[in-house]
């Protein structure tokens, strides 16, 4: 049978022959991930299973990124529980202090996930690693505990939707705009239970960081995974991250897709998702009257170095609008250091931005940028559910790093070309 990319990736990790979607297969996992919110529950399940050790101390990542640096006593207790478990089990990849970054930015950068891997995480945005050609998806806590104990898990082979993205991108339009546009087209359950597989000239030309931005939001369309082929670009990224032995992986020609979505990006504007669902997507021009109180640049969607560069290019030489908080959170320590070296942090600081540590922070309404009732925020994050960033009466708009920077300058949702000083 000709196989989709999803089927191919699963086939590599299972002894059973994959014949059709819907089939259930047992797969070896390459890495099991949990964070400071989900690890404590998984640790409890492990105890109930009677597991005295984990399957491989080098193949588990525990990333305390959501509320760190610990925002209150409760979160400190949770992190303590995870830390004690990590010490007891001798877990190699434990992150909490100056080594911690937002999990889905951190693990690819360290080469802990890469092309062809099967990754399961107790976090729904585990799908980010599909940008590197990994089959990566979120699971419940007991599932994660089982994977930690056994080193394998079961998957139902998904059907795939082929998303073909072609045309020529405007200089102000990028990966975030494309994934928002797609979610606007197919809806928040448009890919329910299915794999999204990306193809087309725009995808081929896209750098890995952009691909991860797109794969990250597959879950916002209900998808199980968002997959990009493990091509030469993915292998180069993996190699630079210190991995060896990765191979190119593509779907078979003639593989069967349950649906095909064609997107021509020529002439597309930057896209913004309006409250309170990621599918409420509109071109940025239509939102120019929306006045904001806060702008957040960061998260596992758009906190990478290319995102900071994009935003810095727009905001350079400008000031953040009066009464707007522009919060910049580089997603990992390495990104932070690189941004420091390149002078990006200086640009943000000169513009009167608030530069914070690598953390999920405001993305999930955790800390470091919570919204009051009636406040509006434009964020580069991935969810704008009611109350996601604070008060139930606050509003979150989702957009790209360039739109974020432009919006920070004017204090209303703004097309980056309006403020670009390069011109």
């Amino acid at each position: 049978m000709e196989q989709t990319l999803a089927q191919k990736l699963l086939q590599r990790a299972t002894q059973e022959e994959i014949k059709e979607p819907g089939q259930i297969v047992q797969c070896k996992v390459s890495l099991v991930l949990a964070n400071d919110i989900t690890a404590p529950l998984a640790i409890e399940s492990l105890a109930r299973m009677g597991a005295e050790k984990v399957f491989d101390k080098d193949k588990i990542a525990l990333v305390c990124d959501h509320f760190t640096p610990n925002k209150d006593i409760e979160s400190a207790e949770q992190v303590k529980k995870v830390r004690e478990f990590a010490v007891k089990m001798n877990i190699t990849h434990y992150f909490e202090g100056g080594n911690v970054g937002v999990e889905h930015a951190l693990l690819p950068e360290l080469g802990l996930v890469g092309p062809g891997d099967i990754v399961v995480g107790a976090d729904s945005h585990t799908c980010t690693y599909g940008g590197l050609g990994a089959f990566a998806t979120g699971l419940g806590s007991t599932d994660i505990a089982a994977a930690m104990a056994l080193g394998e898990t079961w998957f139902k082979v998904p059907e795939s939707i082929l998303v073909n993205i072609s045309g020529e991108l405007d200089e102000y339009v990028g990966a975030k705009d494309l994934i928002l546009y797609l979610i606007g087209q197919i809806g928040v359950d448009g890919a329910l239970y299915k794999a999204l597989e990306f193809t087309g000239n725009v995808v081929e030309d896209m750098e890995i960081e952009g691909r991860m931005t797109m794969a990250n939001m597959a879950i916002e369309a209900g998808g199980k995974v968002g997959l990009f082929p493990a091509d030469a670009k993915a292998l180069a990224y993996a190699k630079a991250a210190g991995r060896t032995g990765d191979e190119e992986i593509y779907p078979d020609a003639g593989a069967e897709y349950v649906r095909r979505v064609d997107i021509d990006v020529t002439g597309m504007s930057p896209q913004v998702a309006c409250p309170h669902l990621p599918e409420n997507v509109r071109p940025v021009e239509e939102l120019k009257d929306v006045v904001v109180d806060q702008v957040v640049l960061g998260s596992c969607t758009n906190g990478r170095i290319s995102d900071l560069r994009d935003a810095a290019r727009i905001i350079k030489g400008h000031k953040v609008a009066k009464n707007v908080r522009f919060i910049v959170l580089p997603a990992t320590p390495a990104i932070y250091k690189q941004a420091l070296k390149e002078g990006l942090l200086e640009i943000f600081a000169e513009a009167d931005a608030i530069i914070g540590p690598p953390t999920c922070g405001p993305c999930l309404g955790g800390h470091m940028g919570i919204l009051a009732a009636g406040e509006k925020c434009l964020a580069t994050t991935n969810r704008n559910f009611k109350g996601r960033m604070g008060s139930l009466e606050s509003e979150v708009y989702l957009g790209s790093p360039m739109v974020a920077a432009a919006t920070a300058i004017t204090g209303r949702i703004t097309h980056p070309k309006e403020v670009n000083s390069d011109q």
Partner: protein, 164 residues
């Protein structure tokens, strides 16, 4: 794995809050949770259920949060099988992991009416409607999933494997 029971039909997009509202999540005891099963759909819904009954649902059953309390509540109510047009992904996993039999039959859910009596062979993938006499075929539950179900869920399954 054979089951016989009376059908209770529910609609599309039944979310985990409908199955077990957050206010009842103060316990993980199956029986306690079972008493409030579907309380978010209709007050007192559970009163119509006899142990062994079957739920037949529409599309996307179990969408919403990843709470494992949802399948536990259904099991606690004495329901061992849910047949649906489709299941939400994380519920589907959690269901089997907690020991609940889930069968996906697509548009054929239309052929089953509230109150019908079904005779289900989960291993063969056969659903016989004793009320109408019709039989619906579905993919059999794979051996591995049967093993999880037989052990009563993923925690027991892993515990046994670690011992073995």
């Amino acid at each position: 794995m054979q089951y016989t029971g009376k059908v209770h039909k529910v609609g599309d997009h039944i979310d985990t809050d409908a199955i077990i509202p957050a206010r009842f999540l103060v316990t993980t005891d199956p029986e306690e949770l079972g008493k409030n099963c579907f309380e978010g759909l209709e007050a007192g819904w559970i009163k119509r259920v006899q142990p062994g009954d079957v739920i037949v649902a529409g599309k996307n059953f179990g969408c919403g949060s990843s709470r494992e309390h949802a399948p536990i509540a259904i099991l606690g109510a004495g329901i061992n099988v849910v047949i649906a047009h489709s299941f939400a992904r994380i519920f589907y996993r959690n269901g089997f992991n907690m020991g609940l039999v889930l069968l996906e039959i697509g548009d054929k859910v239309e052929e089953i009416k509230d109150g019908d009596e079904l005779q289900i062979d989960a291993v063969k993938g056969e659903i016989k409607n004793n009320t109408t006499g019709a039989t619906i075929k579905t993919a059999p539950i794979p051996a591995f999933m049967q093993e999880i179900l037989q052990k009563g869920g993923l925690i027991n399954y892993v515990r046994d494997r670690l011992k073995g």
